[in-house]
Amino acid sequence: MDIDDLLAEVVVDATPRETRDLHELTRSWVAERVAPELLPWPADLMDRVLERIRKQIELVEDQTGNMDPKTNFELIIIQTELERFKFLVRSLLRARIKKIDAHPLHVQALHAASLNTPQPLFSPSEHQYLTSHQTLLSTHYSSSFLGQFPVSLQRLDDTTGGISMIDKPDEDKAVFARALRDIGDIFVEGTDRRFEMKRGDVWVVRWSAIRQWVVGAGTGDVELI
């Protein structure tokens, strides 16, 4: 470790929590927009960010009546930044809802399996959304046509006969990824492809091959771009 490394450590540690949260939120947003499957809900990060947004909105409401031109301009800056944050959060949530809507039964099963891990797949409100949406849908299906089928054909999640009715996202889809740390050899299953991913490298690679390192889903040593 030379002096540069020592200095870098001090600099990074001195970065305020707010700034680090912005970095993390931006990274999670890009990852969620790009990844083919739903990533675990970043609960702690979102709690902090939403709390700060709430406070900032209160501040803006307090100061709106103030006609002093100097405060007025400061308020413009604050509001511009507030809107940027709100966009990040909204776009992240909408990207997640899209994935939940696309593969409801699949993500529900994954969520149930992830409940005992430190990072569950859904936030509580996402879980509520999915459950009530699925209840509505299945009630509607069974009252409009499924109810007239033989009982053995009424299920929506049949997996017998070697073919599952539950749709899954394509986990072998290619993604653009950048390594944040050296991660060593990567092996693409089913092919001869083997390569080494070093810090700062950008690769086009299958999601399934790098999933375990990706920000959000794995160790956080790789980010999607």
């Binding site: 540069d4 490394d5 200095l7 870098a8 450590e9 990074v12 540690d13 305020p16 707010e18 700034t19 912005l22 970095h23 993390e24 931006t26 990274r27 890009v30 927009r33 790009v34 700060r52 947004i53 301009f73 400061e74 413009i76 800056i77 604050i78 511009t80 930044e81 940027r84 944050f85 966009f87 776009s91 909408r94 990207a95 809802i97 899209k98 809507d101 394509d170 072998d172 290619a174 653009f176 950048r178 740390r181 990567i186 693409v188 299953e189 089913g190 092919t191 492809r193 390569f195 810090r199 700062g200 490298d201 950008v202 690769w203 086009v204 690679v205 299958r206 091959a209 980010e223 771009i225």
Partner: protein, 236 residues
């Protein structure tokens, strides 16, 4: 309210990311420090230079409250050198800026758009990740802060042409397995190339799917046999 967009970032979203890059500004008016959601902004004291996120710098620039110093790589001299490098090496993109020293394991590694690759004291010999977007935005909003905006614009255009041609030539290297190294690619280029590159790789993969499945099964069988052999060795 589900997002109606396909996976991958759209050009406005990439520009949004680019607006988080730090640039150097010379304030023309005082402004007190502000507590923003993304951290504290230091007070602006003319004529002291300071680094601000691009979105804030553009806001100040439009209101004539500050001037933006173009990044060290965004001038005719540096761009000509980079363009020469790009035309001389037709296999790869010009190398990205040198990475800052690696942070220790327990801290969050920093990556674009939060690296200071676009301030006036950044490395002048490499294109940062958001080079195209940043160049275009600065030329549009702050062309009076450039020494020679027309030539800078021309060089950026030239770089874009050369690099797009390279991106297209990558197609020959693509195959079903993926695993293509693209160091030095820019943010907007990822956005533009994504649909095509992904389409080619995923299409080829589907064609080769059955062969791959066979191979996976064979590998798995091989592993099981290998285990069996080990067991036998232990037995002996």
């Amino acid at each position: 309210m589900a997002l109606p967009l396909p996976p991958g970032l759209t050009p406005p979203e990439i520009a949004f990311l680019c607006e988080m890059e730090l640039v150097t500004v010379i304030p023309r008016q005082r402004l007190e420090g502000l507590e923003l959601l993304g951290g504290r902004v230091k007070p602006l004291n003319p004529p002291h230079r300071t680094s601000l996120p691009l979105w804030l710098a553009l806001l100040l620039k439009r209101q004539r409250r500050a001037n933006i110093l173009p990044p060290s790589w965004l001038n005719t001299h540096s761009l000509t050198a980079i363009l020469d490098h790009e035309t001389d090496h037709d296999e790869t993109f010009s190398p990205p800026p040198r990475l800052p020293p690696q942070s220790s394991n327990n801290t969050l590694p920093i990556s674009p758009p939060f690296l200071s690759n676009n301030t006036s004291d950044a490395a002048p010999d490499a294109l940062p990740y958001h080079w195209l977007e940043l160049g275009e935005m600065l030329l549009e909003a702050a062309s009076d802060d450039f020494e020679d905006p027309d030539n800078v614009r021309k060089l950026l255009r030239g770089l874009r042409e050369v690099r797009m041609a390279k991106l297209r030539s990558y197609v020959e290297k693509l195959d079903a397995a993926g695993g293509v190294k693209m160091n030095g690619i820019g943010g907007m280029e990822v956005g533009e190339g994504r649909a095509f590159v992904m389409g080619v790789i995923d299409g080829l993969r589907k064609i080769a799917a059955s062969r791959e499945q066979q191979r996976k099964d064979r590998d798995r069988d091989g592993m099981e046999e290998g285990d069996y052999d080990d067991d036998e060795m232990e037995m002996q």
